[in-house]
């Protein structure tokens, strides 16, 4: 490590620690800890959601994938951008109107049962841990590559830092780390894309012609990575619907004061992600042309260092150091958000509401949240230390698949379907979760005849991401569960609650808003 890169890193670490220090003085209640007191502005939350969204997998992974496989890498960009519309149109506002701290809070506003909370919290913890391992493994590999630090030490550094932000600064600090990082990432990406574009005389056709002439037309159409339609449709479904089921994204809607601000947040996120992912074309093609395959693959077979290598080519050591520092900030921000979400499921849902019946003082709640954060951090650091060789992008797309299958159907039914009941909710969540895990375990990421997966053998289900089966299955289970057990439910009471949910979801009316 040289002086310039050390400077950038210390700058970012210092800035985030100052933010944490300021936030820590304002964090005294459970609401401060989990949701920053619900006081974030629309643009702040919009940047923070973008900060959650543009993970290392998006920044390093997508540009690397475009550099190595052309259009196939860009599939991800399209999925991440359109997913904003699902959030905006059917999830964000009702979520804000019905929820408090967690997804389970929102579901139990309609079905006040411990089993619903238990299943929802379990799903959240599984998604958070899968996502977290992916981020930590990626972080470890990246930092090892950039500074030559041992993998285990790199994971520990990131682990200790994320725990510090969450433990002391709660959601306020975590949000500001995400906002700062989203701003830096947007700036860094725009700069890289501008420099690449200038080398093609600001002519898009010239850039594509160069790729076509030098590397072949196959980079400009799909088929290098995804060969079957059904496989790519399944993955695209997981991306577009999974975002709306990821607990750390959903939790961000509780950090604003009303539905209107939740809407403004997603509007900001949509613009930021649309701009960012348009630029991934320049990053990908730039790395393909100026860095070259051999050098990209030599550094990292999955292409994860394509963007830093491009920065080195375009701006030497200074730009390389800056982009690496941004990538580091990206990882820190995303894992902090994940720790907080995991902690909320453990300490608020499982400990506070299920075990203690919600009878905790404010002080006990904050203490429980801190203990929850430390436990989820320790578990994921330990798992990440053993998971070094796992395929990172597989883990991420799998988390999306579980989000889309276990969470999205139950959220939609809760808000929009009158006849939905508690049995249907449990059926939908359990079916979504279990079918993802089973089909995933039988799939090509676990079984491969050539031995580049965990076990050698023919995969029984030949879908990398089984979303195309598991999402309809979960919707169907929710429907069937509700219809079959309809006679067992106290219909009058169920309808009364649904009417209340419907009025709340659509008008945002609540105790505080109407004075009678």
């Amino acid at each position: 490590m040289n002086l310039v890169s050390a400077g950038f890193f210390l700058g970012i670490v210092g800035l985030t620690l100052i933010v944490t220090y300021i936030a820590a003085r304002r964090t005294s209640s459970a609401s401060d800890f989990y949701t920053a007191g619900g006081g974030l502005k629309g643009w702040q939350n919009g940047f923070a959601i973008a900060g959650d969204y543009l993970s290392a997998a998006a920044f390093l992974g997508v540009s690397g994938a475009i550099a190595l496989t052309g259009f196939d890498g860009f599939f991800f960009s399209v999925g991440y951008v359109v997913a904003n519309l699902v959030l905006l149109y059917i999830i964000a506002e009702p979520m804000r109107n019905l929820g408090r701290y967690t997804l389970a809070d929102m579901l139990t506003s309609r079905f006040n049962e411990k089993r619903i909370r238990g299943v929802a919290a379990t799903g959240t913890i599984i998604i958070v841990i899968l996502y977290m391992i992916a981020q930590l493994v990626g972080a470890g590999a990246l930092i090892k590559l950039l500074f030559g630090i041992e993998y285990w030490m790199a994971v520990l550094i990131v682990g200790v830092m994320m725990t510090t932000y969450v433990l002391f600064g709660g959601m306020t600090a975590t949000s500001w780390v995400q906002i700062i990082k989203a701003g830096l990432l947007l700036f860094g990406t725009t700069l890289l894309a501008f420099l690449v574009f200038s080398k093609f005389d600001f002519n898009l056709v010239k850039m594509f012609d160069t790729v076509s002439t030098n590397y072949g037309d196959e980079y400009l159409v799909p088929g290098m990575k995804y060969t079957s339609t059904i496989d790519s449709v399944s993955m695209m479904l997981a991306l577009v619907l999974g975002t709306s089921g990821l607990p750390h994204i959903l939790m961000r809607f509780f950090t604003v004061k009303d539905a209107k601000t939740a809407r403004a947040s997603i509007s900001w996120t949509t613009w930021i992600t649309a701009i960012f992912f348009s630029l991934t074309i320049f990053l990908g093609f730039g790395a393909m042309h100026f860095v070259g395959f051999d050098k990209i693959i030599a550094e990292n077979a999955a292409g994860n260092t394509a963007a830093p290598l491009l920065a080195e080519f375009l701006g030497g050591n200074i730009l390389l150091s800056f982009i690496c520092a941004v990538a580091f900030a990206t990882i820190l921000a995303v894992v902090s958000g994940l720790v907080l979400t995991g902690a909320s499921a453990i300490s608020h849902d499982i400990y506070g509401e299920i075990l203690k019946d919600g009878k905790l003082t404010e002080k006990q709640q904050v203490l429980a949240a801190r203990i929850g954060s430390i436990s989820i951090a320790i578990v994921s650091i330990l798992l990440a230390l053993f998971a070094q060789s796992l395929n990172v992008s597989f883990l991420v797309s799998f988390a999306f698949c579980i989000g889309a299958s276990a969470n999205l159907p139950v959220i939609l039914y809760t808000i929009y379907w009158k006849k939905f009941n508690a049995n249907g909710a449990v059926a939908a969540m359990v079916t979504g979760l279990v079918s993802c895990l089973i089909l995933g375990a039988l799939g090509p990421n676990i079984w491969s005849p050539t031995g580049n997966a965990i076990f050698v053998g023919e995969p029984i289900v030949n879908l990398a991401v089984p979303a195309i089966i598991t999402i309809p299955l979960s919707f169907f289970a929710g429907y069937l569960g509700s219809i079959l057990t309809a006679h067992k439910v106290e219909q009058a009471e169920a309808e009364r609650v649904y009417k209340e949910i419907r009025v709340k979801a659509h008008t945002g009316i609540s105790v505080q808003d109407v004075s009678h």
Partner: protein, 112 residues
Amino acid sequence: MSQLGDKISAKCDGINYEKIDRMEAFNQFVKKKNTFLFGITITFLTFYILLPVLAFTPVLQQKAVGSITWVWVYSLALFIMTIILCTLYVKMASKFDKAAAAVLQEYEKAGA
């Protein structure tokens, strides 16, 4: 739940949800809103999922401008669609906000 239970729960948080739920203005507003939300959602999901379906057919594999193939043009169109529909939503949502406020006002006037 009994009539008595109704009265108690209505008293507890001060809002008679049953009454709002029965209001015609409320039901019209919700119907209009849901038609818009789900109509647009189905539309954009259809255009979106056609990308991986058509991407493997010759339709999108031909060149559009220079070496730029139609898959890129289609993808770019999805980006533009996202921005347009995002703007449309924000516009419509503030109309819905007004409608919701009008419903609540009517409810308050009638007396809870």
